[in-house]
Symmetry: C2
Subunit: 654 residues, 2 copies
C-alpha cells in the first residue's frame, strides 16, 4: 500500500541557516552535554550512571545498577542522535566515543542476546516477569534504532550485529508459538525499531515480530496474567498493589497502555501520549509495509481524533500530567496541560509514516505545526535548557504555588531525572532531512520548506532539486529542478492549511497547478532542462479562534504567522498578562527583530484593565482601562529573555 | 483576656423563615437520612457500618470493623447535630435513637476509658502507635463534642460520664510527665472538644490537656519518633513508606499537619485546611481562656493571612485538592480549587472564638461570608445533596474530562465515602443561635442579622432583644430592646465591611452611634423602657474586583449583594459562559424571583462573543459579538435548577 518512500540520506542535504544553527546546537551542545551527563561528569546535574551500568553489566566494573529501570535508553538515544549527526558529516572524535560505548554494549549483552543492564545486574532471574512496567522492550527498541542510525551513518557493522543478536533473541522470547511469551510492551517503541531493522535488512522476521507485537496487543490478558504470576507486586511501588499500574495514573491501565481493545479497533487517542504516538507510528508503518488497509484506516481514525479534537494549536498533545496522558476530546487546558516535547516528536513520527501511504497535506501541516512550535520551543536558543512540559500559559508564581501546576515549569530546565526530551529533540533535528520529501515511482512530494539540496531517485530517474528559502520568516520558496531523464515527473507541493493564498511561478510565469489534490499542488513536467519554480505563500499574520467546544479558549484569540504560533511575554508586555485584551479588528503589524537569530515580532492593538493596588483581597470594582500595544513573539522563542509570564490565548475585547 | 462570652442556649431563639427552613431541613432531612446511613438502611449509598462497629466493639455482635479508620466520628457528628437540634426543641423519638446509640457507645468504651472501635476490634495492641494517621484523638474529640451538646440539650448524664471517662483516660495517656506520650493529634479536633468540656465542667484538667496538645505541637519530634517505632509502616499504605504521611500530599508533612514550628510561632495558614482551622479555633479559644496574649497574637496573624491572602470571595479556603490544603498567598484558582465545605465551617468556628477576645467586625464579616455562600452552597435546597468541593467556576464536561478537575463535581452528591461535610453543616446550622451575639458585663454585640428572640444576661441584668428582619433579602433590621434594670447597657452592631452606607434609628429618629470602633456601631443607653432600633444597610448590588495578585481573577469582576456572592448559571445564561463579558459601567438591576424560597436575581448588561460552529480545532478568527443581558443568582443556590455551567468571576469588557 506504500505509495511513497522515505529518502536515503544521500538524497537530501539541509542548507539553511535557521535549521543548520539547530543542527549545530545538537552537534556542539546537546550531544557533548549529554555525553558528559551519561559519564557523570556534570556536577550540576542529576547523576546518570548510565555508562557505568553498562560497564557493570559487562563485568568491567563492580557495583550496582543506578537510575531509572530504563536508564539504558538514555545511552541509546544519545547514540541515535550521534548516528543522525554523523550521517550529515563524519566526525572521528565523536565516533571514537560512540565506538567505545558500543564496545561496552557488546560486553553488556548476554550470550543469548539479552540486553538490559538493570536485570543483568540486579535481578537476572526476573527478566520478562514484568513486561508492563520494566521497559526491557523499550530499551531494546531504542538500542535497535540507534544501531540502524549509526550503521547507516558509518557502515560500521559491530553495532548492527548486536542489534540482530538482540532482535533474534526477542524473536525467540515473544511470538504466537507455544512456549513463547504472548506479550507486548508496556511502553511501545520496539515496534518502530523492528520495522526500521526490517527496512535495513529486508529480513521478514523483524517485520513479523513487529506485526506480532502490534496485532496481539489488546487481544489477550497478558498483562493481567503476568501480574498474577508475580503475585501483584508492582515494580514502582516495590510492594503488592491492587492494580498493575502506577498510582498516579487516574485512567484504567488498559487505556493508559493502549490495550483497551485490539489496536485496529481503536478509534481514539488515549492514555500516555508518548506510548500512544509511538504505537500509532508503528501501526502506520506496518500498515503501509503490509498493505493492511484495515490497520491503516484505524490509524487514520486515530489521527483524525488527535488533530481534530485533542491537539493544541502548538502541535502539543497530552492534556494532563496525570499519566502524561490524553484526556478527552476538546479538553485542552492551557495552564495545567502536559504537552510533552517527546509526544510532539512522536506525533511527527506518526505523520511521517502516514505520509508513506497517503499524500495528504494534513500530515505535513501537523509535522510543521509540532516542529516549529512545541519541538523547537522545547529547547532554548542556546541549546542547553529544555522544556519537558509545554504550557500555553504560564505565570511563574502560579506554577510555583499551585500543586495542580507544579509540573509546569516557568523556565526551561537543565536536564531531567527522566531525560527523554533533550535527546529526542536531538535525534529529530539530526534526522530532519528525512521529513522534507517523499518519493514514489513518478513523483516527488515536498512536505516541508527547508532549504537544501535534493538528489532524489524517482523510479529510474534522478531528480535534482534545490530549495532556497528563508521560510518561515517569509513565504517565498525557490526551487531549481532538473532531471537526468526526459520522463515526466510530478512535483507536488504541500499547500499549508493556513495559507489562504499562494502563487506558483514556473520560470518566471505564474501558472496554475496541473492538479490540486489533498492539499498538494502538482506540476508534472519533463525536467531535463533546469527549471526554476517559485512558490509563495501569503504570510499575513492572523488571529485564530479555537473550536467552541474548547471551553478554555472561549472569548480568546491566538496569533499565528505562517506555521508559527505567537505568544505574549512579560518581557514585552509587562506583568499581569491576564489583564490584557486584544482587538482582533485592528489587525497586526510586523516588526523585524535582530535578536535570537532574527524573528518577526507582531504588534496588535489592545487594552489593559488594571485594578488598583490594595491590601484587601476583594473590593468594590474599580479599574482603569487603557489602550495599549501588545507585542507577540514566536512561541518557540519564549523564555529566552528571562523568566516571566507567557500567554498564547489572549482575551478578545475592544 | 476573654472580654466576650458566648450565649447559653436559653438566651437566644432563632425565628426566621429563611433559617428556620434550613433548621427544619437538618431536623427532617439530614439527621434522619444520616441515621439511615449509619444503620446501613440506604441501598443507594456507600455502606457505613458505623453503628455495627460500635456493636462489635461492645460485644453485641460478631464481625470485623468496616469503613474508614475514623468511621466512629460519623456517629458522633450525627449525635452532635442531634444535640444541637434538641436544644431547639426536645423530641422523644429522636432521643430514643440517640439514647440507643449512647448505650452502644458505653458498651464499646473499654474499662480504662479507651474508645475507638477500629483499634478495639482489629488491632488492640496497636493503640496509640500511629497518632499521626489513625485519628483516635480526632474521634475522641468528636465524641466529646457530641456529649457536651447532647447533655446541654437533654440534661442526660450518661453520655457525659462516658466523655469524662474518656477525657480522664486521655489525660493519663498524654502529657508532659514521664511515661506519658508527649504527642498531639495528626488531625486536630480533640483540643476544641476538651475546651468545651472544660466550659461545661470547669475542670481545669481538660483545659490543661487541651493546652498541652496545642503548646507541645511542633516543639518535639513525636511524629518522627513514632514513625521509627512502628518501623516506617504507613497505615494508609499498609506498607513501609519513605515518609510518614499520605502519598497524595505534595507538601512536607509537618506543614500538612501544622507542626512545622510551635504553633505560637506560626505566621501563615498551611497544610490540610480543615485540620488547620480546627487547630486555630482551639488556639483562639485557649488564648482567650488563659489570657495568653502571645498565642492570641499568633491567631490574629494567621487569621489575617487567611482572610487577606488565602480566602475565596465565597469564604472558601483550601486552594488545592492535593492534601485538601492551603497552597500559598494569592493562589486562588477558581476551577481546580478545593474549598471544602467543612473548612469554611471551621473558619466560622475560628471566627467565633476570636470574637471572644476581640470585638472586630472582620470576624463577623467572614462568618457571614462563609455561611451565606460556601456553607449554604454546600447543601441543595431540598437538603439531600451536598458539595464537598466548592468551585467558583464549573463546566460539567471539563470536570468530567480533565484529571486536574476530577475532584470538582459539577453537581451535589448524595453522600460521600468520607462523609464529613453533611453532618458538619447540620451541626453548624443546628447550633447557629450561638453565633449571633456575644455578651460582656455591660454590652451585647450583634454579629449576625438573623431574626429571633434574645434574653441575654449582661452582668446582673437581662437584656431582652428581638430581631426581626428578612436579611439578607433586604438590609433592614428591626430590634426591640428592653432591660430589667436601669443600668446603661451597650448595644453594638456589626457594620459589614461591604456596607458603604447605613442608617441607625432609635424610636424613629435617625441617630449617630455613640462610638464606631472596629466595625461596630455602639449605642449605650438605659433600656428600661422598651426601645425600637432600626438598622438599615445599603443593599445596592455591586461589582467586585479581586486583588491584582490573584492572577486567576485578572480582568474579571464578581457580583455581590449584601453578603451574598452571585454567579452566572447556564440555566439563565445558556451554555458557554466563558463567552460572556460583563459591562461593569452599566449597573445591576434587581428582580425578585419566587422560586427556591424566593431570591433576588441580578441583571447586568454584557456581551457574548461567539465563534462559528465548525469541525476544525483552529480557524482564522471570526466571531460575532452580541449585546446581551446577564442574569446572576446567589451562589449558594447554584446547581438547584439542573446541572450546568457556573461562573463567579466574569470577564469584564464592553
Amino acid at each position: 500500500m506504500n505509495k511513497n518512500r522515505l529518502l536515503q540520506k544521500e538524497e537530501c542535504v539541509i542548507r539553511n541557516s535557521f535549521w543548520n544553527r539547530y543542527i549545530d546546537l545538537v552537534k556542539n551542545m546537546v550531544i557533548p552535554y549529554q555525553w558528559d551527563i551519561l559519564n557523570d561528569r556534570r556536577k550540576d546535574a542529576e547523576p546518570s550512571h548510565a555508562i557505568d551500568n553498562l560497564r557493570i553489566a559487562g563485568g568491567k566494573m563492580k557495583g550496582h545498577f543506578y537510575g531509572q529501570v530504563f536508564q539504558d535508553s538514555d545511552v541509546y538515544k544519545w547514540l541515535e542522535a550521534v548516528g543522525n549527526i554523523l550521517m550529515l558529516e563524519r566526525n572521528p572524535e565523536l565516533e571514537e566515543k560512540a565506538d567505545s560505548v558500543i564496545d561496552l554494549i557488546a560486553e553488556a549483552q548476554e550470550e543469548d542476546g539479552y540486553l538490559d543492564t538493570y536485570f543483568s545486574i540486579e535481578e537476572p532471574d526476573k527478566k520478562w516477569t514484568n513486561v508492563l512496567e520494566c521497559h526491557e522492550l523499550y530499551c531494546a527498541g531504542h538500542f535497535i534504532e540507534s544501531a540502524v542510525s549509526y550503521y547507516r551513518a558509518t557502515g560500521k557493522e559491530k553495532i548492527l550485529q548486536i542489534a540482530y543478536k538482540l532482535a533474534d533473541y526477542l524473536d525467540r522470547v515473544f511470538g504466537p508459538e507455544e512456549g513463547k511469551l504472548h506479550g507486548y510492551p508496556g511502553h511501545q517503541e520496539i515496534e518502530i525499531a523492528l520495522l526500521k531493522l526490517y527496512d535495513l535488512s529486508g529480513n521478514e522476521k523483524y517485520l513479523n515480530l513487529a506485526g506480532y507485537f502490534i496485532n496481539t496487543r489488546g487481544t489477550n490478558h497478558f498483562f493481567e496474567e503476568e501480574f498474577e504470576k508475580r503475585d501483584h507486586v508492582s515494580f514502582w511501588e516495590k510492594a503488592r498493589t491492587p492494580e498493575p499500574n502506577r498510582y498516579y495514573n487516574q485512567y484504567p491501565y488498559n487505556y493508559y497502555n493502549q490495550f483497551q481493545s485490539p489496536v485496529r479497533l481503536q478509534k481514539k487517542a488515549v492514555g500516555h501520549a508518548v506510548r500512544a504516538v509511538y504505537m500509532y507510528t508503528a501501526m502506520a508503518d506496518l500498515a503501509g509495509k503490509t498493505g493492511d488497509k484495515e490497520l491503516f484506516a484505524a490509524c487514520r481514525t486515530i489521527w483524525d481524533n488527535i488533530v481534530k479534537k485533542q491537539m493544541y494549536i502548538t502541535g502539543g498533545i497530552g492534556a494532563t500530567n496525570s499519566g502524561e496522558a490524553f484526556t478527552n476530546d476538546y479538553d485542552l487546558p492551557n495552564d495545567t496541560n502536559y504537552s510533552e516535547t517527546c509526544a510532539s516528536i512522536g506525533l511527527i513520527f506518526f505523520a511521517q509514516k502516514m505520509l508513506m501511504s497517503e499524500t495528504d497535506s494534513v500530515y505535513g501541516d501537523v509535522m510543521e505545526q509540532a516542529l516549529y512550535n512545541t519541538v523547537l520551543g522545547g529547547m532554548n536558543y542556546e541549546g542547553n535548557r529544555f522544556f519537558y512540559v509545554n504550557p500555553l500559559e504560564s505565570v511563574p508564581e502560579v506554577c510555583r504555588d499551585n500543586t495542580q501546576r507544579h509540573h509546569v515549569k516557568p523556565e526551561r530546565q537543565k536536564w531531567f531525572a527522566c531525560a527523554c526530551c533533550p535527546p529526542n529533540i536531538a535525534r529529530l533535528i539530526g534526522g530532519l532531512w528525512d521529513y522534507i520529501y517523499t518519493a514514489s515511482e513518478d513523483r516527488v512530494n515536498v512536505h516541508l520548506y527547508i532549504a537544501g539540496d535534493g538528489k532524489i531517485q524517482v523510479g529510474e530517474s534522478i531528480l535534482n532539486i534545490t530549495q532556497s528559502t528563508s521560510y518561515p520568516e517569509n513565504g517565498k520558496i525557490n526551487f531549481t529542478v532538473q532531471s537526468d531523464s526526459d520522463r515526466e515527473i510530478g512535483l507536488a507541493f504541500r499547500i499549508p492549511g493556513w495559507a489562504e493564498h499562494y502563487t506558483l511561478r514556473l520560470d518566471g510565469k505564474e501558472i496554475t497547478p496541473d492538479q490540486v489534490e489533498n492539499g498538494y499542488a502538482l506540476i508534472s513536467r519533463c525536467w531535463t532542462k533546469s527549471a526554476h519554480i517559485e512558490l509563495e505563500f501569503d504570510m499575513q499574520p492572523r488571529f485564530i479562534c479555537a473550536n467552541r467546544r474548547i471551553h478554555y479558549d472561549l472569548g480568546r484569540a491566538a496569533i499565528m504567522r505562517g506555521p508559527l504560533v505567537y505568544c505574549l511575554e512579560e518581557a514585552d508586555n509587562g506583568k499581569y498578562l491576564a489583564e490584557l485584551t486584544v482587538d482582533t479588528d485592528a489587525g497586526l503589524t510586523e516588526e523585524k527583530k535582530p535578536e535570537l537569530g532574527g524573528y518577526v515580532a507582531l504588534k496588535a492593538r489592545g487594552s489593559r484593565t488594571q485594578v488598583p493596588d490594595t491590601d484587601k483581597l476583594y473590593t468594590t470594582y474599580c479599574a482603569s482601562r487603557e489602550s495599549t500595544e501588545l507585542v507577540a513573539v514566536p512561541y518557540y522563542l519564549w523564555n529566552n529573555r528571562g523568566t516571566g509570564e507567557m500567554q498564547v490565548w489572549i482575551k478578545t475585547g475592544l
